[in-house]
Amino acid sequence: MSEYMSGTDSERKTMLAKMDYQAMDQLFHDVPTKVRLNRDLELPMPLSEMELARHMKALANRNVTTGEYSCFLGAGAYDHYIPSAVDHVISRSEFYTAYTPYQPEVSQGTLQAIFEYQTMVCELTGMDVANASVYDGATAIAEAANMACRIIRKREIIISRTVNPQYRKTLHTYARFNGQRVVETDYQGGATDIAALESKINSETAAIVIQNPNFFGAIENVKEIAALAAKNNILLITSVDPISLGVLKPPGEMGADIVVGEGQSMGNSLSFGGPYLGFFAAKGKYLRQMPGRIVGQTVDGKGNTGFVLTMQTREQHIRREKATSNICSNQALNALAATVYLTLMGKQGLREVASLCLQKSHYAYKRLTDNEAFTSCFPQPFFKEFTVKSRYPLNELNHKLLADEIIGGYDLGRDYPELENCWLLAVTEKRSREEIDRLVKKAVEKI
């Protein structure tokens, strides 16, 4: 007998008999014989709870984890500190076993948490409105590009090569099928080449996409790019690291029109790439063109304040093929984790985390480049990630570091042929001076 069904075989027989059926098979008489399976599915033999726990543990033990190794790898997913209370909140089954809050009277918990999340995203980014989140940082850019094309009524998107390669690939995939053209623009000294960018803007351009800090870790001149966009009556989409906003100027203050980003850093575990969340915010005038769920405040018949899903005429269940997007979920539990994270860190904590990232990454950068084995790649200021050029082949270096229980940086040569042996390292608040010193010692030792 299988687990997780509360009825027994004899109860099932009784229920069948009550409906005048003799056998279970009769319930499936509408399924044509020709398409019946008529054999058992070929699946592994079922495991008991204890056996399952053992099996899963054995699989888990075959992975390298940031709990046991010192992690200097980022490139879109970061080993930040997650306060214990975050998991306690998202483990409350009233949150995680609920569906989408379509019935607001019994969903005020989820709805209010999303309203608080939207507020925090607006506060961080300096934007007017935020949605309840999308799948991740990559799809957030694809959705933002779509939105920009609708607003400007043009079909071309210019994206900087300093944007995360996976985000660019995702944008290319979406654009190929919905009739948009994506043009990539080059960098100069580790940041978007603004002159090159300007030369690419034409009468078909709808938006510019940049990332700040960019994939190399460098801080972009957002203000100048925003001015360029405004001058040409096109939109600026900025993808941003939310932790950096503890110290860096919010994109909203620098003229961005749509601000998106990967929210994993805010209280979500690495989990081999997901689930994460994409945050999504915009200027108020673009509210009705936004994709995704939005929660609004209202009142009940007695004047009590409450929250509902709102602006739903943008969405697929009402508008079908005319919707602003096909998305019909948000990463609600991940957004809740982000909300709890930002609540616990608060004003002061976020600044402190950001400052620690800044100080430690600069310490690591200095220590590495003090050795002749590693040289500086780009002159730009950076936040928590930076790029150095190694004298040593990176594949070999990273594998040797793994043997010393250190997760080394990202090999930029994988995505940028011109950046062979350029090593992208992330240093979060979790790395101690001792760990950084050990990384430097082991990395230099190899050479």
């Binding site: 299988s2 409906m19 398409v35 058992d40 995680y96 569906y99 575990s269 609004g296 969405e315």
Partner: protein
């Protein structure tokens, strides 16, 4: 009873975190980063202690209703019980603490799990391979339709730009089709709840890329003409797309691949018991028949020479549809579920889900209009039109159900049934629960007769009453505004 916003709790200087002191030499920030790039004022985030935060979110959780709270018969959503061991195993450090950009050799456990899950889902659906990258059902649909379009383009059939979708389909079907540049043609459902083959034959042409179908349909009925439908579509060069929202009805009984479907998306958060999370994260794997495998998103996980690896060398692939490899932690839970159930268990799930739905439908059809009088699959649709004639709507009755401690069914969907109520009890409920629910619904039907005003004013016992949705749209308040900004 409203809960104060977190921003209205707390005082300046209160802290809910503890961080170590900076152990590297501290430099002045504007020496590292030019001042023009720095933030002038802090964001208005809460300033609360850990206990304040925990009490706040605990209070919020208590305003919610989940599967663990009670019966949750949302049709087409498959709100089955979410096993606790699956939550535990997904949180093992060996999964939750794994960086996605680590080399293959350092993540063999994760890759093995993804590879085996791919093959198990392929077996369950009758497909050749399955990509676990899509993040949700709608995302799986989008990826599946991209595959369809890439396939036709590869075969030099760029003119196939239309897609046929039944009038009972989920709203995501036409929305996803529009996002891949398809024009949507609607096919009507006949009086038995099937796609009308004659009409379908007329709609098919060399401009049609394929048909999207949910089977069982959103009416909870198995498509009786499925063999003929598949033939019609294939004979004119189209592909058959399976919306897997309702797979819970047929596991081990029949498979989309055997019915003739070429592309399938699944919802791990429905059929395979991963929790819905209040609206996400989900997971929407997309599976395909052999000739479509080259078009799957990259990377594809392969097993070669005793090692698992991420394969990016797929020249015909549609490419990446999101970062990394999908909602991995969700896949872990669904994998654990299948490993627990096995073949017989999954078949038992579907049989019991269908049994429970028929049992409840038989009890309710005396009091509510049943528009399609057939054996249902895992869900069924009633119409509240009899009650509507007395001035009480389906929405009123749904709200009244909350007063009796149950979550309402899906309402006003599918669109072709007036005052629709779509019940999906799932296999995890027992007979007593179904009997009790039937009792309550009969009681509500009686209330409609005897005291309609009572039902129209419901709910009374929920944390808040019916909310003014028109006001929410007309005067949008989409975030909290700090007092200082109000004064500006």
């Amino acid at each position: 009873m409203s809960q104060r916003l977190i921003f209205e709790v707390g005082k300046p200087g209160r802290k809910g975190y503890s961080l170590p002191k900076c152990d590297v030499p501290v430099r002045v920030i504007d020496e590292i980063v030019p001042e023009e790039y720095l933030r002038n004022s802090d964001p208005e985030l809460p300033q609360v202690s850990e206990v304040d935060a925990i009490r706040h979110f605990t209070a919020l959780s208590r305003l919610n209703y989940g599967v663990d709270s009670g019966f949750y018969p949302l049709g087409s959503c498959t709100m089955k019980y979410n096993p606790k061991i699956n939550e535990d195993v997904s949180r093992l450090e060996g999964f939750s603490g794994v960086h996605p950009a680590l080399p293959d050799c350092a993540v063999q456990g994760c890759l093995e799990l993804l590879y085996k899950m791919d093959l198990m889902l392929a077996e369950i659906t009758g497909m050749a391979r399955v990509s676990l990258q899509p993040a949700a059902g709608a995302h799986g649909e989008l990826s599946g339709l991209m595959i369809m379009r890439a396939y036709h383009e590869h075969n030099k059939e760029e003119q196939r730009k239309k897609i046929i979708i039944p009038d009972t389909a989920h709203g995501t079907n036409p929305a996803s089709a529009a996002m891949v540049g398809y024009e949507v043609i609607e096919v009507k459902t006949d009086s038995r709840g099937n796609v009308n083959p004659a009409e379908l034959r007329q709609l098919m042409s060399e401009e049609v890329a394929g048909l999207m179908l949910t089977n069982p349909s959103t009416l909870g009925l198995f498509e009786e003409n499925i063999i003929e439908v598949a033939e019609i579509v294939h004979n004119s060069g189209g592909l058959l797309y399976y919306d897997g929202a309702n797979l819970n009805a047929i596991m081990g009984i029949t498979r989309p691949g055997d019915m003739g479907f070429d592309i399938v998306h699944l919802n791990l958060h429905k059929t395979f018991s991963t929790p819905h999370g209040g609206g996400g994260p989900g997971s929407g794997p997309v599976g395909v028949k052999k000739e479509l495998v080259p078009f799957l998103p990259t990377p594809v996980i392969q097993y070669r020479d005793g090692h698992y690896m991420r394969d990016y060398e797929q020249p015909l692939s549609i490419g990446q549809v999101k970062s990394f490899y999908g909602n991995f932690a969700v896949v872990v839970k669904a994998y654990a579920y299948i490993m627990t159930m096995g073949a017989a268990g999954l078949r038992n799930v579907s049989e019991t889900a269908v049994l429970n739905a028929n049992y409840l439908m038989n009890k309710l059809k005396e009091y509510f209009h049943l528009p399609y009088e057939r054996t249902c699959m895992h869900e069924f649709v009633l119409s509240g039109q009899t009650q509507k004639e007395k001035g009480v709507s389906t929405l009123d009755m749904a709200k009244r159900m909350m007063d009796y401690g149950f979550h309402p069914p899906t309402v006003y969907f599918p669109l072709i049934v007036k005052e629709a109520m779509m019940f999906e009890p799932t296999e995890t409920e027992n007979r007593e629960v179904l009997d009790e629910v039937a009792e309550i619904l009969l009681h509500i039907a009686r209330e409609v007769e005897e005291s309609p005003e009572l039902v129209k004013g419901a709910p009374y016992r929920t944390p808040i009453g019916r909310l003014d949705e028109v006001k929410a749209v007309r005067e949008p308040v989409l975030k909290w505004t700090p007092p200082r900004k109000n004064n500006e």
